[in-house]
Amino acid sequence: EKYLKIGYSMPAATAGYMARAIYWAKKGMADWKAKDKNLEFLYVNAENVTKQANDIEDLMAKGINVLIVWPYDASVTSVIEKAWKAGIYTVVMDRGTSKVCYDTYLSNDDEGYTREGTEWLSKQLNYKGNIVLIEGIPCPINTVRIETIKKTAAQYPGMKILDSQPGNWRKDEALKVMENYLQKYKAIDAVYTADDDMMLGALQAYKESGRKDIKYFLGGACDKNVIKMIMDGKEPLVQANVTYPPDQCATVVGVAIQGARGKNFQGFYQKKIPVRIILAAELVTRQNAASYYFPDEP
């Protein structure tokens, strides 16, 4: 087997979701290392784009021949391109690059992620109701998600989006925003945050307020506590979730190794591994919740 020196660059854990992503990244690396001696992993985290650019340079200095990179955002493209042009087998994941400078791209489906959610929510409210959104940190993925929510909801005249304010993917800030919404809007039917941390924060604000008007709280990305809630079904306000699987970070390790060794997955007739892999965003309800519950995640 070809000896692979794999550099893995991710954004730092600044939100609950990223912590889980990192957990899976490490798990993926550990699992592969266990079954294959010809692998070496160099793993780095960045707090901002500049640091990430530095990280990638440092990895190249250490002579990697495979690069897995979860770009902070598309602005890191040109740095990734340098690695790719240098003949390093490059796998880009999640947030895309602004041009093709990779051998394989693996990602979650940001549009599907919030489309699924919005559709479900609309259906529950039988296409009529007032919803408030709590956004993440202003940045491209957040924009995509929010746009999609608005587009999808726009199909149904009855669905009104009252407001959309940033909670920066933080429980405490989402809680503040929700407290303020509750003062501002006397009738809310549902709260959609597309993130479980923020959803839990909002939910708590609602509970504290003692109001009874809201029917649904929808987060996203399957935080283990939320999935548990859904499984137990004791919390009528939280009945569904949408996957945004953080285990993509584990999957991507396999993709990179297979790809770098010129192999493909079982059942593919092609020699080469697919150039773009988009993971489905699945709706999680009480029926299927159990299969999305990972108690070991942070």
Binding site: G16, A19, Y23, P138, D172, E179, Q183, E208, P298
Partner: protein
């Protein structure tokens, strides 16, 4: 002569009331701009929202009066609250009794807080290292320790009551607000009526004179950072109780800036030597109202920063002028 004195006092006084003036202006503006602002519940919300950084800002006030700075408060909060909860969870087993375990956890968090602060103080006094550097370093250290023990995720407490006491109200006043008020009263007493308070100002306004005046400069500094660590932990405990958990990756993120901002908006100069505890509270509330209004007026997420920046500058401008 009389008039003279009054005039001079007057001059000194304005400094003290300036933050209140700024707050008043903002308050009136807000109530005009948004019909929701004046709702009792909304005002209570604002108070509770600011109480957490508010408390920290109180500790920061002392640090800054003493001529120092503490950037580590945010991560210190995350780390100590995490440890507190871990200890609580651990105690649940042997002790069984939820309340005892809770008491233990909280006590641990507070002690550790004081200790962490003391560590800063030690490096600054004995190590002769600039406060900015020491606390910049410990900011990174505490955060990373928190991330490590919680692998960047959440640390939940197994006790349910822990998750409630921080949300309760004592005669309509939320507990953390209550805590902030009590702390404010205590600290302003300490600052204005004890030898320690007097020495703190002396140290901050002219270290050399303080030394020549036989003041134990290092001791004063040490106490101050310890105190700041302790108070920060009080806030951290309240905050973690709110969620019955600590998000190790982002609890306390950016608190240092909010706290320092509150202190300065409150009229305490970054150069130290003097300052007011009540002013700091006003500063914190000013910041709280700004955030509240951004939501109430539904300012576009992209432009919120602009508005916030302008209002902060404006609030201080009001004070800067007449004084």
């Amino acid at each position: 002569m009389k008039t003279h004195t009054l005039a001079l006092l007057g001059k000194i006084q304005y400094e003290k009331v300036a933050p209140f003036v700024a707050l008043a202006v903002l308050f009136v503006a807000s109530s005009v701009l948004s019909p929701y602002f004046l709702q009792i519940q909304n005002l209570l919300n604002i108070l509770r929202q600011v109480s957490y950084t508010g408390m920290i800002a109180l500790g920061m006030t002392f640090v800054i009066i003493g001529g120092g700075i503490d950037l580590s408060v945010g991560s210190l909060a995350a780390f100590n609250a995490s440890m507190g909860i871990l200890f609580l969870n651990y105690l649940m087993g042997p002790l069984g009794n939820e309340y005892l375990a809770m008491a233990g956890g909280i006590l641990a968090a507070l002690l550790l807080g004081a200790f962490s602060g003391a560590l800063n103080g030690f490096l600054i006094t004995k190590g002769k290292i600039a406060p900015f550097i020491v606390t910049l370093g410990s900011m990174a250290i505490f955060r990373s320790l928190a991330l490590f023990i919680g692998s960047a995720g959440e640390i939940r407490s197994v006790s349910n009551y822990y998750g409630t006491f921080g949300m309760e109200s004592i005669l309509f006043v939320p507990v953390p607000v209550f805590a902030m008020v009590i702390l404010t009263v205590l600290l302003s007493l300490v600052l204005n009526n004890t030898a320690y308070g007097r020495y703190l100002c002396a140290v901050g306004s002219n270290l050399r004179v303080a030394v020549f005046s036989a003041i134990k400069v290092n001791k004063i500094k040490f106490i101050t950072y310890t105190l700041c660590g302790l108070i920060t932990s009080v806030s951290a405990v309240m905050l973690s109780s709110r969620f019955n958990a600590v998000s190790t990756s982002n609890l306390g993120m950016g608190f240092e800036l909010d706290a320092i901002a509150a202190v300065i908006i409150g009229g305490t100069p970054l150069t130290g030597g003097r300052g007011t505890v009540w002013g700091t509270v006003m500063g914190a509330i000013i910041l709280g109202i700004i955030n509240n209004m951004l939501n109430m007026l539904g300012v576009s997420p992209y432009l919120q920063g602009t508005v916030k920046g302008l209002v902060i500058i404006g609030a201080v401008y009001i004070q800067a002028q007449k004084s």
